[in-house]
């Protein structure tokens, strides 16, 4: 069975007792010793390891060896649509909250690092700053508005647009 996480292809082939895993240029053997309630005991190339795995949409939370990763599963046909050009950066809300201040207007020139907006969440202020020199394309929110995580707030376009 083939799957892809964080753009890495992983191929599992049953060997009867366990599986042969091909990941990048590596080949390993894996045997499932036990699995229950999000806990997975594996024999990886003869080494016993315990992993904890949770599902969260296309995300998989994996804790193994004292490290936790949020991996993203890629599925065929739903590759992320690419913008035709890289002239435009969309800045999104990193978390749900409220827009406390809008420091720029549409069409205004901005410099890299300049504070564009201030959000407030969990009683903290989060500054959204310009990722590059450019100009404010679209301003999609206004002061006082409540925004959701990943919601597009503002577009920064290149300064010299032909």
């Amino acid at each position: 069975m083939k799957s892809q996480f964080n753009s890495t292809d992983i191929d599992l082939t049953s060997t009867g007792k366990g599986y042969q895993v091909v990941i990048g240029d590596k080949t390993l053997s894996v045997e499932i010793l036990h699995s229950e309630n999000g806990r997975l005991d594996l024999l990886l190339d003869g080494q016993r390891v315990t992993a904890f795995v949770s599902f969260d949409g296309v995300k998989r939370w994996v804790t193994i060896g004292g490290q936790t990763f949020a991996l993203t599963k890629s599925t065929a046909g739903t590759r992320r649509a690419q913008h035709g050009h890289h002239a435009q950066d969309e800045l999104t809300a990193p978390m749900p909250g409220q827009v406390r201040a809008v420091n720029v207007a549409e069409g205004e020139s901005v410099t890299k690092g300049q504070t564009l907006l201030v959000l407030e969440a969990m009683k903290m202020e989060i500054r959204v700053s310009a990722p590059k020199d450019g100009r404010v394309g679209k301003l999609l929110i206004q002061q006082g508005q409540t925004v959701e995580r990943e919601q597009v707030l503002i577009e920064i376009v290149d300064k010299l647009e032909s």
């Binding site: 009867g16 490290q67 949020a70 201040a101």
Partner: protein, 490 residues
């Protein structure tokens, strides 16, 4: 002792106080907001009263509703925890007026120390060293002049503040106006008071605080220091005691200054005197006093050997302190790591979501104070702290190793946490050498999240096998992976 008390807080600290109540045979009343109706503290308390909506103003900051709940349930005293109304002098006074006992200091002590400007003036008068700076300024011009006189970098902070809110480091004049406006806005929003003070910013300082404890009969002692220099955005992440910086002489001097500071405001119950210490000169300066129980109180409990929360109740009930300063010694070493729902690789931004897994570490010398369980929702309404992981061992090296092992066992899924970040921080040589100062995380550590390991990717792929065996197209409940475990074994 009281028969019943109300706990005006939520999360881990409410749970901590309920545990103290149970051990003392005191009934507990929890209060909660709509989103917290199934929270751990609500389930653990003997009674629970709904306050209102999720927004703190409608619930945990709603003093009238909380007082009414205390009267309705016939509670005799109110424990405010930390944050929310804990340092609100008007609330403490209102509790007194309602003929209830506020489990904490007097409203006058809170008022005197709560105002960072007034407390600084009082400390100067009591002979406690303070950071050079100005209080009572208003216009941006006055701040600009003051900043020039003190010399950049300067710190502007809310006079009514605490907890890093309404505080800004200003590196140069160019940032002064925006910083003042931002700090004022945050201060107004968090404390309802936009007054700021300005002082010299010491970029390479240690933050070391002293726990003080007094009864209502004039006895006041300190329970040694806590080293709290590991911070991000002026908020503590890791605390320990003893501090690797202090010498026995400096500990004695600072302990005496802490006691003098607390006595200057006729303090009783638990409080904390915060100092900053210049590691080069070993000079120390009073920063502020927190007139409440501190988040990091457990490290003091372990090393001083005293249950601070139980003593808060006993002192509030009028018991005299049976101890004197010489009864206390520091035994072993304790470290606390605050497990936050936040992304250390992405500017420490809070992370929200449902806790898909929440497995706490266990073992000798390991304590976890948490207010969450698997399945609970972490919302943006409240502080992003999920739990406090505390270890106690015979010395600092052993405590570090114990903490590293415990962090590796702590599993939290569903929100990004700082667990891996803290594990790597504890392994850093600067931490081992006790050289971490308050801006070290932001200026020197430069942590990056690790790339996914082969093992992690394989584990994720293996779980897909279990998914394949399920009915195609059937949606899997987000937080209960592979219910059909039998699909795994061949």
């Amino acid at each position: 002792m009281f028969k019943k008390i109300l706990i005006a807080n939520r999360g881990e600290i409410a749970v901590r106080i309920i545990r103290a109540c149970r051990e003392l045979g005191v009934k507990s009343v929890a209060v909660y907001s709509e989103v917290d109706k199934n929270a751990l503290h609500v389930q653990m308390a003997d009674e629970a009263v709904l306050l209102g909506g999720a927004a703190p103003r409608e619930s945990y900051l709603n003093a009238d509703r909380i007082l009414q709940a205390a009267l309705d349930t016939k509670a005799e005293a109110v424990h405010p925890g930390y944050g929310f109304l804990s340092e609100n002098a008007s609330f403490a006074a209102a509790v007194d007026s309602a003929k209830l006992t506020f489990i904490g200091p007097s409203a006058d002590s809170i008022r005197a120390m709560g105002d960072k400007a007034e407390s600084k003036i009082r400390m100067k008068a009591a002979g406690v060293p303070t950071v050079p700076g100005f209080e009572g300024l208003e216009s941006v011009d006055e701040f600009r002049q003051a900043a020039e006189e003190i010399g950049y970098p300067v710190l502007v902070k809310a006079a009514a503040g605490g907890g890093g809110k309404g505080m800004r480091v200003v590196e140069s004049q160019a940032d002064l106006t925006e910083s003042i406006e931002g700090a004022r806005r945050e201060a107004l929003n968090a404390f309802g008071d936009e007054r700021l003070l300005i002082e010299k910013y010491l970029p390479n300082a240690h933050h070391i605080e002293f726990q003080v404890f007094g009864d209502q009969h004039g006895n006041l002692i300190h329970l040694f220091e806590r080293e709290c220099s590991v911070q991000r955005r002026h908020q503590k992440i890791i605390e320990e005691t003893p501090s690797p910086l202090l010498t026995p002489e400096l500990r004695t001097q600072m302990g005496a200054a802490a006691v003098a500071a607390a006595k200057a405001v006729n303090y009783f119950n638990a409080g904390t005197i915060e100092f900053i210490v210049d590691p080069n000169t070993l000079k120390f300066y009073f920063l502020e006093m927190n007139t409440r129980l501190q988040v990091e109180h457990p490290v003091t409990e372990l090393v001083a050997g005293l249950d601070l929360v139980q003593w808060q109740l006993r002192i509030a009930a009028g018991e005299p302190f049976p101890f004197t300063q010489s009864d206390f010694r520091q035994r072993g070493h304790a470290i606390e790591c605050r497990v936050y729902a936040e992304d250390p690789a992405g500017g420490f931004l809070p992370s929200t979501g449902r806790l898909l897994q929440f497995i706490e570490p266990r073992g000798p010398g390991i304590r976890v104070d948490s207010g969450f369980r698997a399945g609970d929702e972490v919302t943006h309404f409240y502080d992003p702290m999920l739990a406090k992981l505390i270890v106690h061992a015979e010395d600092r090296e052993a405590a570090i190793r114990r903490m590293q092992a415990a962090l590796r066992e702590f599993v939290v899924h569903g929100v990004t946490t700082n667990i891996d970040f803290m594990g790597d921080l504890l392994a850093h040589e600067d931490f081992h050498n006790g050289q971490v100062t308050t801006r070290w995380v932001e200026t020197k550590f430069g942590w990056q999240a690790g790339e996914p390991t082969v093992e992690a990717l394989v584990a994720a792929a293996v779980v897909e096998l279990g998914q394949k065996s399920q009915v195609e197209g059937q949606s899997v409940e987000a937080y209960s992976p592979w219910k059909v475990a039998s699909g795994f074994r061949n």
